[in-house]
């Protein structure tokens, strides 16, 4: 009888602990990146420097109030240049449990692989499949880091191949 009671208590403890794990959800997760140009061969998203190129990232953050800062890092492989931007949360839009950022990528000189005009958001993008030429002229790694008010950091990144002469 005592043994049954002990097992019951242990089972209850396991259930309580498991419920605790469910309650303690991660505030920021599931980073996803894309652009309006998708390479046919492997379905990866790319940048076309001769076309209007839009970049989008989103992440799961059901409660925006826990977010302190959002920072973006752009690393140009060919140029060796890096830029860091602080993104105001107001530039992101909510889509269910996700926060979404969309902007047009600007290419060119200026010491950075590209720059993003501020204040543009709340727009959807239309993804177009393309078969780009072999002329990859750059490679940009975009890293987004979200810091919560408790100081925890969550980040995701994506590598975009940059093409010229996209059809």
């Amino acid at each position: 009888m005592r043994r049954i009671t002990l097992l019951t208590l242990l089972g209850s403890l396991v259930l309580v602990l498991s419920s605790c794990i469910i309650v303690g959800t991660i505030p920021v997760s599931s980073f996803r990146f894309d652009s309006n140009w998708q390479r046919n061969t492997d379905l990866r998203y790319v940048f076309c420097s001769n076309k209007t190129t839009q970049m989008r990232y989103k992440f799961r953050a059901p409660d925006s109030s826990v977010i302190s800062t959002i920072s973006e890092r752009y690393e140009g492989f060919a140029s060796g240049n890096t830029i860091n931007l602080n993104r105001p949360i107001a530039d992101l839009s909510r889509d269910g449990s996700d926060l979404v950022f969309v902007d047009t990528v600007t290419f060119g000189q200026g010491g950075v692989p590209q720059s993003l005009p501020a204040g543009v958001s709340q727009q959807s993008i239309i993804i177009t499949p393309i078969t780009p030429p072999p002329s990859i002229t750059g490679r940009t790694t975009v890293t987004v880091t979200v810091t919560t008010i408790s100081g925890s950091q969550y980040s995701g990144s994506y590598v975009y191949d940059v093409y010229s002469n996209c059809p």
């Binding site: 060919a78 140029s79 060119g108 000189q109 002329s135 990859i136 002229t137 191949d161």
Partner: protein, 123 residues
């Protein structure tokens, strides 16, 4: 009696002056040498300062990294391509493998295998 003698002396003196003037030797005329037409010298195009430049071209962007006065590398076909200087006038021309980068001082052109792939490149 004295006046004709003076006049005669004066006549001699004047004639001697004329003779002196006429006696000056004449210089031979030098033949004119034919003028060779001068070809204007084209100024050399200076290599941009070492560093990385992202050009905007008709066709997209191109990153060119000038290593020194004679060498550069650019990123094309998914890899760095090394090019060396070939000439500096009338345009600055770099070549390496199938790649050629021509810089006029304000505009650039990238050719691959003799075919222009990026033109009108500027900063």
């Amino acid at each position: 009696m004295l006046r004709p003698l003076l006049l005669l002396l004066l006549a001699f003196a004047l004639s001697s002056c004329i003779l002196l003037v006429e006696d000056e030797p004449q210089r031979p005329v030098q033949p004119v040498q034919p003028v060779t037409p001068v070809t204007p010298v084209q100024p050399s195009i200076v290599t941009p300062n070492a560093g990385s430049y992202t050009y905007r071209c008709s066709g997209g962007t191109l990153v060119v990294n000038y290593l020194d006065n004679n060498n550069l590398r650019l990123f094309y076909d998914g890899a760095f391509q090394n090019l060396g200087v070939v000439r500096r006038s009338p345009t600055l021309l770099f070549s390496g493998g199938v790649y050629t980068w021509e810089w006029t001082g304000s505009r650039g052109t990238l050719s691959v295998g003799g075919r222009v792939v990026l033109s009108n490149c500027a900063l």
